[in-house]
């Protein structure tokens, strides 16, 4: 059993769960302690020792089910593959096999004809032992491995035995109709066995390949230019964004500890002085708390940069607790606040709201100048020295008045302005792009064509390093 558990742990690791050696040893010990009688107890014991993150539980459960089959469930599944029984043919075959002791039928053939689903399944797995299933990673290999396992069985002998049985039946004077029925029964059993083999290989693939394809896709997605994503990929991105957000948060929690020291902490210094008779030999310092940044985002939600906006909003939503306050605005040319939906709605609905239901003219042409001027007139009081302003847009102004003065006015109010441009740097200033006019008023201008670039900037924003890196131009 230990081997099985270790193999199972290998699968968990392949599915990106971190399992240390001590945890693996614990799992073995725990499995021994609860025994194998109760499948649920066994599962709980493995979960308690191997799964340390609640979010990993679904993965664990899925792989557990693929790995430690529920024997009852498995039998049912195999029975389904076998199809309907034919009791008449079965009884007949049993009688034939009994009588024809001299036929010397291969035990495999006998099993094939008469055994129940579970023992057939066990035979398939036996056959699957030596064919190198550990190299099975892609769906395309399923056919190959099905054949490999199939070839493990001595089909020539089995078929000869079946023919011999049919002949014996014929000799006993069975009529052609009944003979045909018998033959059909045999063929169906063979077909079902083939299906069982294939099912087995597919299940193995699900078990081994689990997570691999996912990871590959995630990595590809994070590097893919945002505007090329298909609707399907956009939906998958949600998980990728959530993952990134978590990484940023975890890093933040660790980093917050390594802070420089602040003022003298009289209280603790006095206490530390007690062993020295009241002489403050050891000084204690108050830890300087980094104040969480405030964030105001202005997000271009016109069609051209929709994906970038979507992911930035998702990322910001996921990181809300890293900021002391988040206020979000969406604009095309008209600008509207969407902060309320961010506070109250779950992530998909909040982002959908910002991208489609805010009081914004979604189908007009972007006009950054107008939006900024509007913001200055109406919402300038939202900005203060503790606030960082995050603007996402391609700065393609459709030849409208850029009104860069509005951006300058905002800059005077805030701690800093970060501009994320989903367009490649080569396009800035070409055609109707007014990026070069806006850039001087920003502290940091970054190209963000992929999710990785986006995450990099947001990471800097949360950790507070972005000011030290300076503006790109």
């Amino acid at each position: 059993m230990d081997d099985r558990i270790l193999e199972f742990i290998g699968d968990l690791r392949r599915a990106e769960m971190r399992v240390s050696t001590t945890e693996a040893l614990d799992a073995l010990q725990a499995a021994e302690a609860v025994g194998l009688e109760d499948r649920d107890d066994f599962r709980h014991a493995l979960a308690a020792t191997l799964v340390k993150e609640t979010r990993d539980l679904p993965t664990f459960e899925r792989i557990f089910d693929l790995y430690f089959f529920d024997l009852k469930g498995l039998g049912a599944e195999a029975a389904k593959a076998l199809g309907r029984e034919d009791p008449w043919a079965r009884a007949l075959l049993e009688r034939l096999l009994e009588q024809s002791g001299d036929l010397d039928v291969d035990p495999l053939a006998e099993m094939l004809l008469l055994s129940d689903a579970s023992s057939l399944e066990l035979a398939v797995r036996q056959g699957g032992r030596g064919v190198g299933l550990e190299r099975l990673f892609y769906f395309l290999q399923v056919g190959y491995f099905t054949r490999r396992i199939w070839d493990q069985f001595p089909w020539q002998e089995i078929e000869a035995d079946l023919e011999a049985l049919l002949r014996a039946a014929e000799e006993q004077g069975m009529d052609p109709g009944a003979l045909a029925r018998l033959r059909t029964y045999m063929e169906l059993r063979l077909e079902a066995f083939r299906r069982l083999v294939r099912q087995h290989v597919e299940r193995e693939l699900a078990r081994r390949g689990h997570g691999q394809a996912d990871r590959l896709r995630r990595e590809l997605l994070a590097e893919k230019p945002l505007f090329t994503l298909s609707a399907d990929e956009v939906a998958q991105m949600q998980a990728v964004v959530a993952r990134l957000a978590r990484r940023i948060k975890d890093a933040l929690a660790l980093r917050q500890r390594r802070e420089e020291q602040g003022k003298l902490d009289m209280h603790r210094t006095l206490r530390a002085s007690l062993p020295y008779g009241g002489v403050p030999i050891e000084l204690r310092w108050r830890r300087r708390r980094r104040e969480k940044p405030r964030l105001v985002t202005l997000c271009d939600v016109s069609d051209s940069v929709r994906n970038a906006s979507r992911f930035m909003l998702q990322l910001v939503w996921n990181l809300q607790e890293c900021f002391s306050k988040v206020q979000s605005f969406a604009f095309v040319s008209e600008i509207a606040e969407v902060s309320e939906s961010f506070r109250t709605l779950p992530v998909e609905r909040a982002v959908e709201y910002a991208l489609g239901h805010a009081a914004v003219d979604y189908h007009s042409r972007s006009d950054f100048g107008y939006a900024f001027a509007r913001f200055c007139r109406e919402s300038l009081d939202r900005l203060d020295r503790k606030t960082t302003l995050l603007i996402l847009g391609d700065a393609r102004n459709n030849y409208n008045d850029p009104q860069a003065w509005a951006l300058r006015l905002m800059r005077e109010r805030v701690k800093g302005i970060i501009w994320l441009n989903p367009e490649g740097q080569w396009g800035w200033g070409v055609g109707d792009s007014v990026m070069p006019l806006y850039a001087p008023h920003c502290d940091l201008v970054r190209e963000c064509r992929t999710l990785t670039q986006l995450a990099d900037v947001v990471d800097g924003l949360v950790q507070g390093w972005w000011r030290s890196r300076g503006a790109v131009r």
Binding site: A30, A48, V51, K52, A253
Partner: protein, 303 residues
């Protein structure tokens, strides 16, 4: 301590705690493997209660260490009783004077005092805090480290050291080994990610909101005065409220409070008016309250 998973369930039940099979298995493993249990889950599902019941059902005393920001070794492990030490030195000044009165040289005097060091740095002047207390106890105890996520990462690392070796080193006294290995329960509300080291060391238990059957059993056990019908309706309503998108979903503690309140109000069944007037016991945020009120008929449907 426990012979089987079933026994855990039975004895917890006797202490009026309904343990699911998962909870019972983990507790059983913890007692067999001498491992701390890290319990995570939403607030109010009985994480702290688990430790209390564990103590009760094993007949061990409960030592509780409540974590908070700024908790340090001095408050968790031990502290020297400085004032007492000073006082003793003052009172014993004459004896010390006598001791070194006839010392021929300064070095000699220092040596003589050094020989007496043990008198001042002894257990007598050590004030044990919960962690050391749990280790020094004459009988095995249950140690509850509550809300470990509130403490800082450094403290976690330090705790890990204690939990893995069951010993504490006090520089002046040397290493103190545990007389009995305590059963340890740590709880976390996930305010921050715990470090890998600690997680690796512990058995992990996630307690979620209970299923309908479990919750009904809990209410029947804890609020036996409530009629069968009332308990059923409360559970059904609470489960439906949980399905709404709320900022803070009601937990077991809320459903228990609610059931108790309804009993005091002499209710034997729920009606919309009654629910509206007692809803604040179940839902604590203003906005959540509005949301539940808006879908009240859905919440009360077929109950």
């Amino acid at each position: 301590m426990f012979a089987s998973v079933e026994e855990v369930q039975e004895r917890f039940r006797a202490s009026r705690y309904i343990a699911s099979r998962r909870i019972a298995t983990v507790v059983y493993l913890a007692s067999r493997m001498n491992r701390p249990v890290l319990v995570e889950g939403p607030a109010g599902v009985g994480k702290t209660e688990l430790a209390k019941v564990l103590a009760e059902s094993t007949g061990r005393p409960l030592v509780r260490l409540q974590c908070y920001e700024g908790l340090d070794e001095a408050k968790a492990l031990y502290e020297w009783k400085y004032a007492k030490q000073l006082l003793y030195t003052q009172m014993l000044r004459e004896r010390i004077g006598e001791l070194i009165a006839d010392a021929p040289s300064l070095t000699d005097a220092v040596d003589r005092i050094a020989r007496q060091e043990d008198a001042f740095f002894s257990r007598r002047f050590l004030s044990p805090r919960p962690l050391l207390g749990a280790i020094l106890a004459d009988q095995p105890v249950v140690l509850l480290v509550d809300e470990i996520d509130k403490a800082e990462v450094e403290f976690e690392a330090f705790l890990l050291e204690v939990l893995s070796d069951w010993q504490v080193s006090v520089p002046e006294l040397g290493t103190i080994k545990a007389r009995h290995i305590p059963l340890v329960v740590l709880t976390s509300n996930n305010a921050r990610e715990l470090t890998d080291g600690l997680k690796r060391r512990c058995l992990h238990l996630f307690i979620d909101f209970p299923s309908v059957g479990e919750e009904l059993a809990i209410i029947r056990l804890k609020v036996p005065e409530a009629s069968e019908q009332l308990a059923r309706q409360v559970v059904s309503a609470v489960q439906k409220i949980r399905a709404l998108e709320l900022r803070k979903a009601p937990s077991i503690s809320e459903s228990l409070d609610w059931a108790r309140a309804l009993v005091i109000l002499n209710a034997d069944r729920l009606d919309p008016q009654l629910v509206e007037s007692t809803l604040t016991l179940v839902v604590k945020h203003e906005r959540d309250l509005e949301r539940v009120k808006a879908s009240l008929d859905k919440v009360l449907a077929d109950s």
